[in-house]
């Protein structure tokens, strides 16, 4: 496992510089007018970023309001008994709800949980695995679809959320199976 980590780490260190230096070099070898092509492509950067703005504003302000309203506390209160019964620790529920909405918000939750339960607790490990194995679905939808002006997202939200929910449940059970049950 450690060797694997080292290999991956080295790869991660080298891959970006290789990409940034390698592509112009490759183009040069192929006889491409590299500077002209780069500038041509880079022109798009501004247009795409500006195009994303309305989509991102729509998604983020709704998420911001939801977080500020204290809805999370209510949801935890309501779902607490149900989750306890099926062996899903209710303490990680805020993480499961916030994760598809915002990345920085869920990082704050992990930090909170470390402070509350200690860094060795199984709950923190569950939250960490949840963080690592899912994406901020709504942000990705806003950015990727916003960049090409797609408004009708069809089954993107249900598909993304299905994957998220599955990952949350799997994380809760797998971590407890590997590191032991949550002590309450």
């Amino acid at each position: 496992m450690d060797l694997f980590r080292i290999i991956i780490d080295y790869f991660a260190i080298f891959v970006l510089p290789l990409l940034i230096v390698g592509l112009p070099l490759y183009g040069l070898i192929k006889g491409v007018p590299v500077y002209e092509e780069f500038v041509d492509g880079a022109k798009e950067g501004f247009r795409v970023a500006v195009m994303i703005i309305p989509y991102l504003v729509a998604i983020l302000f709704a998420i911001g309001m939801f977080r500020a309203s204290g809805a999370m506390d209510f949801l935890v209160e309501i779902l607490h008994p149900v989750l306890g019964a099926i062996g899903f620790p209710p303490e990680v529920l805020p993480m499961a709800i916030i994760r598809p909405l915002t990345g920085s918000g869920s990082a704050a939750i992990v930090a909170d949980m470390i402070a509350t339960y200690g860094e060795d607790s199984v709950l923190v490990k569950i939250a960490g695995v949840m963080f690592g194995s899912t994406e901020t679905t709504f942000y990705v939808i806003a950015v990727y679809f916003g960049a090409v002006n797609i408004k009708k997202t069809r089954h993107a939200v249900p598909a993304g959320l299905t994957a998220d929910i599955a990952a949350m449940i799997l994380a809760a059970y797998l971590v407890q199976w590997i590191f032991g049950k949550v002590m309450v």
Binding site: R67, S69, V140, I150, A156, A166
Partner: protein, 340 residues
Amino acid sequence: MLNYIWAGLIISSLAFALVSDIRDTANDRFRNDDPLSVTLEYPEGYRSEARSVPVRIRIDPERYRSFYGVDETPADGYQGSVIRTQRGTQLRFGTGAPLPDPLSRIRRFSSSADDELQGTLVTETPTPDSSESVAAVQFSPVRFPRLHDITQAAFDFAETAAEIALGLIGVLALFLGLLKIAEAGGLIHQIVRVAEPLIHPFFPEIPKGHPAIGMIVLNLSANVLGLGNAATPLGIKAMEELQELNPSPDTATNSMVMLLAMNTASVQLVPPALLVAVMGLQVNELILPIILVTGSSLIIAVTAAKFLQRLPGYRRSDPLRLAAEEVDDAASSPSTSEDT
């Protein structure tokens, strides 16, 4: 679906905010009409004529808890100042003092800019040696703070969204430029040729040899390696390529949803930088479970996307299908077009 979730988030935040505010008002959580008793230490001595005097504010923990009905305890003491004017005496807590709930919420509600908690001293009795005084402080009333919070959040996040988008300009330009070189040199075509058999089953609608496949491969590999900076521009480029195959530009195609689902499942060999920042070395023992969970969630994401696109509602809205039907209609009814 997104229409309902989006409206749901906004409407439910109003509902939750109102319920929580009404509950707080009914329980008189902020003690709007009652002063809190505090002890003020005067390091420079108590002087009733000085205009501004530094003080150390102490709050008895027991009394604090019973006064507000909370479990939290105030710190040993807070730096602050007493300001005397003809209109009365004001007590100011130091800027950014680590106040317990609900004082922190009173501060957030009453001062938006300077982050100082302020209150009016209604009574103050100095001790005989004039180094301390026993006082009662009345804070300005807090009414519907959650309602205030959600409006503030809407403004803040709208600003953040624009900042995030504009912050992407540089990285987007860099990678879109590099990709243009790769395209012009024929690298994308080579990737397409190699990866086509592997990727095609997931994206059956992309014609053979189309550059979209190359961009999808690059986007997914950047994701696996945890290269967040590179993954976003590559994903956007992949979406642009897919958009060229899309007959109705405002509706997502099955391939677009599939790419999105694969992205949200986010298979990662390297844990995200944000998580490493929060958890430190602890992350190492989580790598294996993360890989197992993301691997399975990728399978579930692909299955879900494939399954959902077959549901009647989503089938009907499939842009490629609609376009095909239009062509069929035109072909099967040539007589009507001749008549007109």
